[in-house]
Each structure stands twice: as C-alpha cells, then as structure tokens.
C-alpha cells in the first residue's frame, strides 16, 4: 500500500507543489459541491472555520479523510475537498476506526451530531473514545433532530416540546462532556459554531492530540431549535455567561465578576469573585485526573445556564492503531515474517508418493 502514498509524489493535475504544504489555502479544502444546509444554519460557520483551519495543519488534502454519519452534519464530508466517507446512521466512528487503523499516516476526522453520535451511534462513540483511536470527533450538538424535521434528541432538555413530544419530552438528556469523560476519553472539549477564534483554537489543540479527540460544538439550528444556545452564543449575553477554561488559570468569567469555587461538600459552584477568597477559586487543570473536568461538566444543567467552554481534559494514553502496529512488529520479530507454505504444512502431515 505504501507505494501509492509516498510523500511528495508528483501527480498531474493536482495543482499543488508536491511535498510543499506551506502554500495550502482554504480553497484547497473546499470542494466544488454547493453546501445545502438551511440559510442561517450554524453548520456554515463550522464548515468555514474548519476549511480555514486545515491548511494550518500542513497536511495535504489527499492525506486527510472526513467521515460522517446521517443527519444535517452528515453532509459536511461532501463540502471538504479531501477524501470522504459518508456512512450510515451513527457508524462514522467505526468507519473512521477502520480507516485510521489501516493507514496510520492519515489525518482522520469524524463529523457527527447529537442524534447520530449520541443516540443511534452511542455505542461506537464510547468505544472509539475508550480505545483512543487516532481520530478527531466533531459532535455538532443542536439539541434537536433537524434532518427529520424536528424531533427531540438525546441532548434536548426535559420538557422539550417537539413534533414527537407535543406534551413535552420526559427523557433526561445526556451531558456529552461528562459522557466522554466517563468513558475516559483522552481529549474532551467544547466550543461554539459562531466563535471562529475559539473553535479554531480548540481544533488546533485537538489536531495536535495523539488519540481520539472529542469536541462538542454548540450549533444553532435556526429552523427547529433557534436560540437554544443564545445565553452563550449571543455576543452580549455570552460575554457574561461563557466560562472560558484556560489551563493553569483560576476559573473566572463575566468580566471577572464571577468565578467557580469549591463549595460545600466539595461541589463546584458559581460565586461572586468579590465574595470569594482567591485560594478557593478553582484553578483549571486539563492534564490531571478527570474528576475536576467532570465536576466542571456538571456546573450547569445545560446551555441555558452559564457553562464552560474550552478544553476540559487532555491526557496521553497509548493510541489504538499504534498499539496494533506494535503487535504486528513484535510478532514478526519473534516468529519471523509469515511464511504461508510453512503455515499450510504446520502440524501433522503425511506424504503419499
């Protein structure tokens, strides 16, 4: 396989100078397919940010694969001028696992949604996170089923009135960040569709991470769930309600007016900074035990309360594909390269003259 993936192989019609990745631009990652989301959809902003960010990675489009499932987010794949695989509902993490394990040289990205990734595909998501496959998972959370025209999703708040829940949803929602931390994901972050700078910064750290990165992106569905994240997304309100996590920094927000402190029973709570002694303000540590980010994930019940954004957790653990390759190498060193003729003749044989 390696003979078709050599670095810098000259190819007619590719348009780029082989091996030179410094000239990559957003255009190199933009396909000729016209995006077909609803006007005003948060997906446009995410697409634009991702296309704009990819050149920075210095990985050529042909070494990049986007994988998606079903739902509005699923179309993302077609708009990236990279290799792409648009699979069936919920299975993108499994497809991506196969792609990444088979060829560890590739940069593999999964685009999924709250229905695709947390409902029908929940099993694959948690197992990808557990294994720590080298894939980056972008979960567009709009707290609604958009493509099927407005049913509640596994992240919709309790009481949500939708077409399938005219009397309000009685389901308790997932907390995606807590879920990812619970299955010991090695990189867990949250960002927002319309904050290009923050989104790009999170993508940058995710791309550098070795293993599975899980990024929840609050994404506005302006047709079926408009305004779900206004408290955080809206410029004026967001200023007061976004709790931006910065490594090693005390967690303060709302122009320094409020902070996160350790309250009674060790629970984290929001307090006025002026009424809190500096030593009881929580200092963010993304590289430590998952209990701190887990508590931060539970600071709010949902995006209608002040909530954390940024990188919650970022730790190192053996990467699944690499561990597999090591086993292959170790087995070959120990047993010698496989000899089929010898294998077929192993054990008891007899010869008829």
């Amino acid at each position: 396989m390696s003979d078709v993936m050599q670095d810098g192989e000259a190819t007619p019609g590719d348009g780029t100078i082989p091996g030179d990745t410094s000239t990559l631009t957003k255009k190199d990652f933009t396909s000729d397919q016209e995006p077909r989301w609803c006007p005003g959809c948060g997906d446009y902003a995410i697409l634009s940010s991702v296309q704009g960010f990819m050149p920075e990675l210095g990985i050529e489009p042909h070494k990049t694969v986007f994988v998606s499932g079903i739902g509005c987010s699923g179309r993302f794949t077609y708009y990236m001028d990279t290799y792409g695989m648009h699979g069936i509902h919920g299975r993108a993490p499994a497809l991506a696992t196969g792609i990444a394990v088979a060829n560890p040289e590739l940069s593999v990205w999964v685009v999924t949604g709250d229905g695709d990734g947390l409902s029908i595909g929940g099993n694959h998501l948690i197992h990808a996170l557990r294994r720590n496959v080298d894939i980056k998972i972008l979960l567009f959370n709009n707290q609604i089923y958009g493509l099927t025209k407005g049913q509640y999703s596994p992240t919709s708040e309790e009481g949500k009135v939708t077409k399938s829940t005219p009397f309000g949803s009685v389901d308790h929602p997932f907390n995606p960040i807590a879920l990812a931390l619970g299955v010991e994901a090695t990189f867990v972050a949250r960002t927002m569709d319309n904050d290009r700078q923050h989104l790009t910064e999170v993508l940058r750290r995710a791309a550098q991470h070795k293993g599975t990165a899980f990024i929840e992106i609050y994404q506005n569905c302006n047709v079926f769930n408009d305004g779900a994240f206004d408290l955080l997304r809206d410029k004026a309100q967001g200023k007061h309600n976004q709790i931006r996590l910065e490594d090693g920094q005390p967690i303060v927000f709302d122009d320094g007016e409020r902070c996160v402190r350790v309250g009674e029973n060790g629970r984290y709570e929001i307090a006025l900074t002026s009424e809190t002694s500096p030593e009881s303000i929580v200092v963010h540590d993304a590289h430590g035990r998952p209990s701190l980010p887990f508590a931060l994930a539970h600071l709010s019940k949902g995006p209608d309360e002040p909530s954390c954004i940024g990188v919650f957790h970022e730790v190192e653990r053996p990467v699944y594909g690499q561990a597999i390759q090591h086993q292959l190498q170790a087995a070959t060193e120990r047993l010698g390269a496989g000899d089929l003729g010898k294998l077929l003749r192993s054990g008891d044989t007899w010869t008829v003259e």
């Binding site: 077609y78 069936i88 089929l340 007899w350």
Partner: protein
Amino acid sequence: MTKGVQERERIVVRFAGDSGDGMQLTGDRFTSATAVLGNDLATLPDFPAEIRAPAGTVHGVSAFQIQFASRDITTPGDHADVLVAMNPAALKADLETVAKGGVLVLNEDSFTQRNIEKAGYTTDPTQDGTLDGYQVFKVPMTSITVRATEDIGIGKKEAERAKNMFALGLVSWMFGRPTETTINWLEKKFGSRQEILDANVAAFKAGYNFGETTELFAESYKVDAAPQEPGTYRNIAGATALAWGLIAASERSGLPLFYASYPITPASELLHELSRHKNFGVITIQAEDEIAAANIALGAAFSGQLAVTGTSGPGVDLKAETIGLAVIMELPLIVVDVQRAGPSTGMPTKTEQADLLLAMYGRHGESPLPIVSASTPAECFTAAIEAARIAVRYRTPVILLSDTFIANSSEPWSIPDVESLPEIDPAFATPNGPDFLPYSRDERLARPWAIPGTPGLVHRIGGLERQDGTGNISYDAANHELMTRLRQAKIDGIADDIPRLDVDDPTDDAQLLVLGWGSSLGTITAAVARARSEGRKVATAHLRHLNPFPANTGEVVRAYPKVLVPEMNMGQLAALLRARYLVDVQSYSKVQGVPIFTEELEHEITRLLDE
C-alpha cells in the same frame, strides 16, 4: 495372547461424554492419528451450546463422530459402529445413533445409581435389556486411570480428568492407530507441566495396554490407508481452512488482511485463528458489536486493505445496513457467514443452510451482491480465495457462506503449492488526469479503487445515490435507474467469470439430477454413489457460486426430467431455481440441526425415480 484382527473398509466411531469430559479433544486427537495413517475421513463434532450444562445430564452431552475408511468417503456416517460413552447420559443421548449390533464401550465407573437417574433412566440400562443386541464392553476407565497415575503425585481429581486419554488409548488400540502422534502432541501441549503431561501419557498408555492385554476385547479392527493422489496431506477443519484461505488471498493480492468481528458461535474460531497470525501482517479487531465490526472492516476497505468481517446468521441481520452501504460504495468487503440453526438465537452449535435467501435478499432496496459457498472443510480454503478475488475484481461486498458442520468438521487435504494459488490484482487507481471519476467503470463495470493517501484522486463516497461517473450525490430519476441497473449488471456479469456448473452423469442418460450447494455435498456424493451401485441412473451437480449462478445452470436443470435439491432448510435454493428457470425442482428438506443422512437421501432418490 494373540488377538484376531478384523479388516474393515470403513468404521464410524463416536465419542460421547459430559461437556467437561474433553470429548472434542479426544475426537480431534483420534482424527489426527487417523489422518496420519492415511485413511480418508470425515468428522462431525456435536456439542451443546451450554459451556458446562449440569454434569451428568443429557443436556450436557458433547459428542464427536468420525468416519474413516480405506476408500474415498464424504460424510461422517449416518450411524456409529462404535460408541464410547463416558457416562449414562452419553449413552442415553447417543444410543440411537449406534447401528444395531454395534459396539458400546462404557465407562463402568460412571454407571452409579445417581448418574443413571440423572441421565433419566429409571433402571440400569446395562442390566435391564436396553442394550440387548449390542456388543457391550464395560471398562472401569476412571478407576484404572487413577491407578495408572498413582505414582505421579497429582490429586485424584486431576487424575480422573485424564480418563478421556484412557478412552483414546483404548480406541487407538482397537483400530490400530499410531500412538506417537498423540504422545508427541501431549508433550507439546503439556510440556511445561510435567505432572499433567505424565498423567495424560500414563492414562493414554493404560488405555492402549488395556485393550491389548485384557481378555475383554477378542479382536481389533484394521482399516487400511485409502488410495490418495501423490502429495503432502494434512487434516484440516473448515474454520482453519477458511482463515488460511483469507491469509492466502492476502498474500496473493499483496493486500494486508484486516479482520473485524464480534464473538459469535460458530464464527469465533475464525477470529481466534486469524489473531494468531500477526506475523503475516494480519490485523484483527474484536469490535464492540456486529455493526461496528462491519463498519470498521468497510473503513479498512476504503483504506485499501483486504477487509473481512465474519459472523453467523444473527450477525448478518445486524450487518445488513452496512453491507448495503458497501454495495452502493462499491468497495471490496468479504462477509463470512458461518450459518447455524434456526431463527433468532436458534441452536447456536447446530448446523443449517438457511441463510441463503438472507444473503441473497437480506437488504433494503435493490442491493445485489455475489455469494460464494464452501462445500467441504478443505474447500473453505479455496472458497475464501475466490470470495476475495471477486470482491477485489468487482469492488463489491461478497457473502461467503460456510456452516457449523463444515466449520467444525475436518477432512484430509492435499496441501497446495502457494505458487499455484490464483493471483489477485488489487489494481488501485492511479492519477491519470485532472478530473478523476470515482464512478467511472471498466469493461466488467467495476469502478476505480482509489485509496486515501493517493494524490490526485481525492473524492467522496457515501450511502446516498451516486451520479454515474462523478460519484456526486444525485436524486435524478433517470440516474437512479441507470445506477440500479449498473449495479445489477455488474453482479450478473460475474457469471462469465466463474467456472461453468460441472455435471457428473457417468452414463449420460440419468433421469434425475441431484443438485446441491454447501455442506450437503458429502451426503449427496455418498447417496448418489449408493444409488448408482444399485443400478440407478443419477446425475449430480454442486453449486459453489449462488449469485450469480454459473452461466449454464439453466441449461443443466432443464436437461433432466427430474431435479432434486437436498438442503438443510425449507427449500431456499429450490425456490431460487424455480423462480429463475421455471423448472419444477423437488426440494428435499431437513432442519434438525444435523447433516442430512446418506440413507435418507438415497431413499428419496429411489422414491423419486420410482414415482
């Protein structure tokens, strides 16, 4: 004392005992010794789904049957000539499998009042006339084993566990099997645990010597080696042959083998076997579920590997949507279905051929794919290579059908030269212009296989309908019809690229064609041979490609006044043949979780011919 030796052409031996008695191992070792001796053979492991059903009950009986002969044989035999029963439950469960007048070797120590009752007997079957008409040999296997291992210094419990080796030794003597094969194997297996090794060897030798020296057995039997073509042979089970066939396909295509699977009886053996061969570059992944296994494999196929997912019927149900995705993505993916009995969980350790229509039609929309099937344990090797060849050549998922019977049973196999195996050309797409068309087609309608990492071939594929040529999403009505017909035509076209259906009709004027597929080959061959020896004119043919059928299949089924299709299902191939060729084929159907018996089928052949 000199004992008589009776010559036999063929013998069927059945070992039966508790699940924990090691009967499969005993049968397996007896098979190895028999193979080395040059007999032709066929085996039938028959075990319960429960790992350890309550000891001493009929539910917990595990059996292993082997037929071996000095001539070509094709089935494990309808009835046992010799039954070795380690306890009353084994006798109760398997007595009906023994031919009248057959030999019963019973572990006398286990026939206690308690065990007799546990087996469901009200009185002692060895005393009450139940066994009249059989030759009964009662051997205190447990106590002799314990005595034979006394000096080794292991506990009584450990010693008792070696009683299966005593039984093996005794039966090895009865049939003149070589002892070295078994002793060498024991040394290899228990080499590091000296006491266990010594106990097993002692028990084995005690059994062998018991046969030779006691007056209980007046004679032993001799079955000469069967004539075989020159070559080097080994005994091989279907599961191993299939795994090695996949490794061979990997080697002959230059594509790394990538196997993703979820544990399921009886397909787990494939996962186990492939996992052992990492030095061949084989990647095995135990996925979180059946659906994941299929998708992980499909992702690997996109990345340019020889991608395989293996399962049994319930897993195929779960993988259906992903197989459909592979159909529309037109990527090579091998799906192995080791069929087992029944709907739902059914009878996981029993055999059946009832997934043919599932393989054929078990997906939504028009989603045709090729189906290849293996007919004998050794044939699993070539069937795996053939499935890989078709998958890679045509960029399509292929379903490879095996079943519990051939996966678990074994037969002698003339080991092929690696160089003689077919080569498979992956023919990856290479850039040849500015506008790559991922859904352009070659002369056999296969599309390019362009793998990520290749410059100049960047493209997107997915489950939405593709536009012809560009592969872009298309909802165009005419394009959908075109693509549907193209996908069908691609699969139909494979008919020109597979061997024609070979008919065996020695007199050329047979009145009946027996047409089969899959593991009923052995029974069909044996039953037809018997019918012919009675002067009946019968032709046979066997399908190894179930979709598409070989190009001459219609011609063949129309050429005979009567066509009989024996299957371990309710007539699935018969239904396909009737629908496709408008021929009134007769179905012979058996769904008991065991292979069709030769005499049953012979009877049906005679009945149809006399009708």
